[in-house]
Amino acid sequence: MLHSILAFVQAWWVELLCALLIVLVVPLIAVYIALVERKFMADVQARPDPMRVGPHGLLQQIPDALKLLFKEDLIPANADQFIFWFAPVLSMTAALTSMGAVAFGPWFQVARDINIGLLFVVGVSALRPLGIILGGWASNNHYSIIGALRSTAQLISYETTAGFALVSGFLLAGTLNVRAIVEIQRTDQAWFVFLAPVGFFIYLIASIVETNREPFDLPETKSELVAGSIAEYGGFRWLLYFLAEYANRIVVASVGTTLFLGGWLRPFPNVRWLIWLDAAPTLLLAAVGAYCVFRAGKQPAREQSLFMWAVALACFVVAAIFALAAPFGHLPFELMHNGLYGAFWLLFKVSAYIYISMWLRFTLPRFRFDQFTRLGWHILIPLAVINVVGVSIALALSSEFGINRWVATFITTVAAIGAAMLLLHWNDKYSDAASAALLADSSVVEGTHAG
C-alpha cells in the first residue's frame, strides 16, 4: 500500500507540485493583481496610489488580506446558514479547480495530457453562476437576490458567446489537449489570433463580461446594488468571492492566451535568427533588478530601502537561473529551458491580457443592463456563429482549393466584419423601435407596468 503510494508520487510529482503551488500561490497572485490594478487606476485617474505600506506600496495587500481574515463574520437573521456557508466555497472551488487543466508551460499542469484539456477549464467555469446565485439567495435580502439574478443572467448570456468563440479556435487546433494546441501553433507557424482574429476579439469581450469587470459590472456596482449578490458577505467570505473573481480572471486570460496567443511560445518560435529573443526574460529581470537598486537609495525609510535591496537581489537571482537555463542542449538544462522560459512567456502574455482588460475598465463607461444583454444576444452570438462558419470555410478553402490560408482568412474576416456592421445596424433599428414602443406604452412611463 505504502509502496504503491510512493510509486504514484514518484511518477506524478510534477503534477502534485503544480497542484500545491496553485493552491498556495494563486491567492497571493490574485491579491497582487488587485494591487497592480489599484496602481494602474491611480495612474489613469491622476491621483496617488498606495505608497506607504512597504516600498512603493508593494506590501499593501498583505495587511488588507489579514484585516479581512479577522473581520467579524456576520450572518444575517433568516439567512440560510448552510448555503450562506457553502456558496463562497463553491465559487472559490470552481475557480481554482478550473486552473487544474491550464498548462503553465510544457511541463507544469495538474492534469497531464488529458483528452478534454481546455474544455475542462471551460466546463468547470460553468459552475460560476451557481456560486453567485446561491450566494445572493442565501442572504435573504431583496437587493442581493435581484443582483444575483442579474449577475447570473449576464454570465450565462456570455458563456455561450465565449463557447462559440472558443469553437473557432478549436477548429484551427483540431484537438482539445492543451499541450497539443500550443504545439500546433508552433508547427503551423501562426498564433491562432492571426488565423481567427474575430474569434479572439469576441472571446476577449466575453471573458471581460464573464469576470464581471467594467464596463459590464452593473450587478455589482457600489452605487447601484451595493456589491449586489455579495452584499451580506463580510470578512473572509468576501475574500473568498474576491479571490474567486480574480482567479477567474487569470483562468480566462490563460484560456485566451493558450488558444489564441500561442501559450508558452516565444514570438516567432521557429525563426532561428530570432533566438536572441530567448534572452528577453533574463534581460528583463536584470533590468527590473537594476531599477530596484536605483530606487533603493531613494526610499524614505530604512526598512523600505532594505526591502528594495531584497527585491533587487531576488530579481538578479531569478535572472541568473534563467541565464543558466539557456539552451545548452543537455538535460536538465533542456527541461529548465522548456519549463522556465515557457512559463515566463505564458505569464507575460496572461499579464498583457489582464492589463488590456484593466485598461478597458478604466476608460469605458458602464453598460446598462439591457444594453449588454442586447449586445450579447443580438450582436455577439450571431457574430460568433458567423465567425465559426467563416473559419471553417477558410480552412476548407485553403485545404481543398489550395487558396493561401492568409487570403482565405482575410476574406472570411472581412465578411465577418461586414456581418458585424449589419448586425449593429439592425440592432440599432430594433432598439429604436423598441424604445419607441416603450414610450408609446403609457403604462410604462407612468410606472404602472408590472414586471
Binding site: D80, F82, I83, F86, I114, N115, I116, L119, F120, V122, G123, V124, A126, L127, P129, L130, I133, L134, W137, I145, L149, T152, I156, E159, L176, G451
Partner: protein
C-alpha cells in the same frame, strides 16, 4: 483496486446526495444535493473513461439545467417551505410502491449475478489503455452512424426554443 475505491466513492456520494435531495424541506437545499448527485454521476462517467461525457454533464447539467432550476425556484418562490397537502394514506402507498420497485431491482440484480462475466454485454471489452480518445470517438460516431439523430436534435432544440418563449410570454401578456 484504486479504480474500485474511486468508483465506490463516487457511487456512495451519488446515493447519499440523492437521498438527501429527496428528504429536504427546502427546495434550494434539494437543488444543491441534486448538484452533488450530478457531479458524482459525472465522476462515474470519468471512471468509465468517457471524458467528454463527464465534461458535458458538468457544462450542460450542472452549469445549465441546475441554474435554470434555481432560477425557477427563486422566481416562483418555491423556496419558502409551504404547508403540504397530504392524503392520510399517502405514507402507506409510498411504502408499498418503494417496496415493489426495490424487489424488482433486487430480482434483476440477483439474476444478473449468475451470468458469467458479471453482466457484461461485450465479452471482450478493449483494455482501458488502448481506448481511442473519447472526444474523437464520440465525434466519429455522432457524424457517422448517428448523423440523422444529430440533425433531429437541432429540430428538437428549435422546438424547445419556440416552446419556452411561447409558454413564458403567454403568462407575461395575460
Amino acid at each position: 483496486m484504486l479504480d474500485s475505491v474511486i468508483f465506490y466513492f463516487f457511487a456512495g456520494m451519488a446515493i447519499v446526495s440523492a437521498v438527501l435531495m429527496i428528504t429536504r424541506r427546502n427546495a434550494i437545499h434539494s437543488a444543491i444535493f441534486l448538484i452533488t448527485t450530478l457531479l458524482a454521476t459525472a465522476g462515474i462517467f470519468l471512471q468509465l473513461r468517457a471524458e467528454f461525457l463527464f465534461i458535458s454533464q458538468i457544462i450542460l447539467f450542472v452549469g445549465g439545467i441546475m441554474v435554470l432550476f434555481i432560477f425557477v425556484i427563486i422566481l416562483v418562490r418555491l423556496d419558502v417551505p409551504l404547508p403540504q397537502v397530504r392524503w392520510r394514506t399517502q405514507k402507506w402507498i409510498a411504502l408499498l410502491v418503494a417496496l415493489a420497485v426495490g424487489m424488482e431491482a433486487g430480482v434483476v440484480l440477483w439474476f444478473a449475478r449468475k451470468i458469467p462475466g458479471q453482466g457484461l454485454i461485450f465479452p471482450n471489452p478493449a483494455p482501458a489503455d488502448k481506448l481511442h480518445p473519447n472526444t474523437e470517438e464520440l465525434a466519429r460516431s455522432l457524424f457517422g452512424s448517428y448523423l440523422l439523430p444529430f440533425e433531429i436534435a437541432s429540430v428538437l432544440l428549435l422546438v424547445a426554443m419556440v416552446g419556452a418563449v411561447v409558454m413564458a410570454k403567454k403568462r407575461t401578456d395575460a
